[in-house]
């Protein structure tokens, strides 16, 4: 019974803590930074993020009480970055939520059912996959008007195939395991097998997919805002901050560098966090670290 000696809750807790790996810690810190920025922006920003201070346009950093200076309209960059974090998180959550909630059940269904049903789902998936995400977002933006919500839903819909594919592939693997056969031998229904056996066993892969998709969604929103199809002014968005600084790239590189850095760190953070989370969630890796 050596394997079971340390199963007291305290021992388990200690082990769990020890296993927290570097990528999860660094990723978690970056993600926490973005979340913190978004939360803080609700109650406090150095200045009003959308207030135009015409007298202090393009103020350099640390001047006139502007920590990171102002942009070409005289808005505070630090405040815009804080409020922009909200948009970023909001976009990521909704887009990944749409993709995961639609894509995962479709993928599990296709993986469990097989046959013509699986074919229909996966071919429809291919069709959507072949359709450029940006074009979809621009089309939706043209029809429903450019807004953060339109952009998020467009990004989410375009990400559905990624989830459906991963979910189907993993489900196929799980359906061929002996424990699913044993579960069927114990009389478990298809739905019970899907919920109790398939989903928990493919969850770790889906979480990684979610973190990667989250990062991609942040980039996509920035790209859409940059193109003018994402978050409309005056709502601050990191993507649009980049766009507005385009013409000043050589004279005031700070304006492009700061939102660019924010985007890069957020994307990096979610990727690292997802990677670490996968290892942490895998019960098979729990004892061997």
């Amino acid at each position: 019974m050596t394997a079971l000696e340390n199963t007291s809750p305290a021992a388990r807790g200690r082990r769990r803590w020890r296993r927290l790996n570097a990528s999860m810690l660094v990723g978690g810190a970056l993600v926490a930074l973005v979340v913190l920025a978004a939360l803080v922006s609700f109650v406090w920003t150095p200045h009003d993020a959308v207030h135009v201070d015409a007298a202090h346009r393009l103020a350099p950093a640390l001047s006139d009480g502007y920590l990171l200076g102002t942009d070409k309209f005289g808005r505070d960059v630090a405040s815009q970055l804080l409020v922009g974090a909200r948009t970023t998180l909001f976009v990521g959550i909704v887009a990944v939520g749409v993709a995961a909630l639609v894509g995962t059940p479709l993928g599990v269904l296709a993986g469990m059912a097989g046959g013509w049903l699986s074919e229909i789902v996966m071919r429809a998936n291919d069709l959507l996959f072949a359709f450029p995400a940006l074009l979809l977002a621009i089309m939706l933006g043209a029809v429903f008007g450019a807004s953060t919500l339109t952009a998020m839903i467009a990004i989410g819909v375009a990400t559905i195939p990624a989830f459906a594919r991963v979910a189907r592939g993993q489900t196929l693997g799980v359906m061929h395991t002996e424990y699913v056969l044993a579960a069927r031998a114990a009389g478990r229904s298809r739905l019970a097998i899907a919920l109790r056996h398939v989903l928990p066993n493919i969850a770790s892969i889906l979480i990684v997919q979610a973190s990667v998709s989250f990062a991609i969604a942040i980039l996509a929103e920035a790209a859409l805002s940059f193109l003018g199809f994402g978050t409309p002014p005056p709502t601050p968005s990191w993507g649009r901050m980049l766009q507005e600084s385009q013409e000043l790239l050589f004279s005031t590189p700070r304006l492009a560098f700061l939102p660019g850095l924010a985007i890069a760190l957020a994307v990096l953070g979610f990727n690292l966090f997802g990677d670490g989370l996968r290892d942490w969630l895998d019960p098979k890796l729990r004892e061997h670290r």
Binding site: Y179, A183, A185, R188, P200
Partner: protein
């Protein structure tokens, strides 16, 4: 409808299998298999790998892999319909309740992300044999104790990867017996285990089955295991039953040439002139490549042209063989 066999009222065999066949496309993998198992009876099913033992078991459970079809008739006491042709939904109510199964490979037969106790409790909640989660959880710990796992409370909280192969197989047995099934199918339950653990496991299966009066269908290629556990034995080769009878009779006076070969091959005290153990010459053909007539004739030392016709069954259904040139009869 009720699936609970009332042992006080119901009589006759627990399981009646008649002319069971398994086909993939036009190819017969299992053919004409028929047998019965009485209440509390222990039937062994032996044969080499590829003889159709496991397919027979999966067909009984209605769990054949996609693309394989079963034919014939499978009747379970307490279930009004023939299991073949019963829909998945109704079959699911029978599985794990009236008939359950222990698989060969304990390392992969448990869900890796569910705690062991939850997996035992789930099968009881599923069939409504316990009323609440708490009751099922307590029953699960009790069952883990019954299969002689040390510290059952800690075991119930453990994940499968924390258990050894033998411990996992005990958990599988606990799951299989959780709802007191009338029939337990064991598909090589000890093959993947250490020899020292095998004997304990066999004793445990025998003991628990006896005290619940559970009928046992025990699939193995190990003749010694059959001799230990079972009362009757069914010898399969090439997807057909070639001989059946009481374990003692079949093992001491085999009639079919295949049975004779199997027994000779398992006798470790008999060696040939070069000091090598005896074997059955040749190898089991792939499914669908067995010869017409007697399936064993390509490897049989006694085969003649007569064997090109399918041998008739000699003897009553529960005791007999299918061979043109049985052991002890001159050609």
């Amino acid at each position: 409808m009720t699936h609970v066999p009332d042992t006080a009222v119901a009589t006759g065999p627990v399981l009646t299998v008649d002319d069971l066949g398994v086909q993939v496309g036009p190819v017969n993998l299992v053919q004409g298999v028929g047998f019965t198992i009485g209440s509390g009876e222990r039937l062994g099913l032996i044969g080499e790998s590829g003889s159709g033992k496991s397919l027979t078991a999966l067909a009984l459970m209605g769990l054949l892999p996609e693309g394989l079809r079963a034919s014939g008739s499978i009747r379970l006491r307490g279930v009004p319909d023939d299991l073949l042709g019963t829909g998945e939904r109704r079959l699911a109510k029978v599985r794990g309740r009236t008939v359950s199964m222990v698989f060969q490979e304990p390392m992969t037969a448990l869900n890796p992300v569910m705690r062991v106790g939850d997996q035992v409790a789930e099968v009881m909640l599923l069939h409504g044999t316990r009323n609440s989660r708490a009751e099922a959880a307590a029953a699960a710990v009790d069952l883990l104790d019954r299969v002689r796992l040390p510290d059952p409370r800690a075991m119930a909280r453990a994940f499968p990867h924390q258990l050894s192969g033998g411990q996992r197989q005990r958990v599988m047995l606990a799951i299989a017996l959780a709802n007191d099934p009338a029939l337990l199918i064991c598909d090589e339950p000890t093959t993947a285990l250490d020899v020292t653990v095998q004997a304990q496991m066999l004793d445990l299966i025998g003991e628990l089955a006896a005290e619940r009066n559970t009928a046992l269908l025990f699939i193995t290629h190990d003749l010694a295991v059959v001799a230990t556990v079972c009362q009757r034995v069914l010898v399969m080769y090439g997807g057909r039953v070639v001989e059946t009878g009481d374990v003692y009779d079949v093992f001491t006076t085999p009639r079919h040439r295949y049975t004779e070969g199997l027994i000779a091959a398992s006798d470790l005290s008999v060696v040939d002139g070069r000091g090598r153990l005896r074997t059955i010459p040749g190898a089991v053909p792939n499914g669908g490549e067995f010869p017409d007539g007697c399936v064993f004739r390509t490897r049989c030392p006694a085969a003649t042209t007569r064997c090109e016709r399918t041998p008739e069954w000699s003897g009553p259904p529960g005791h007999g063989f299918a061979c043109w040139h049985p052991v002890g009869e001159d050609r």
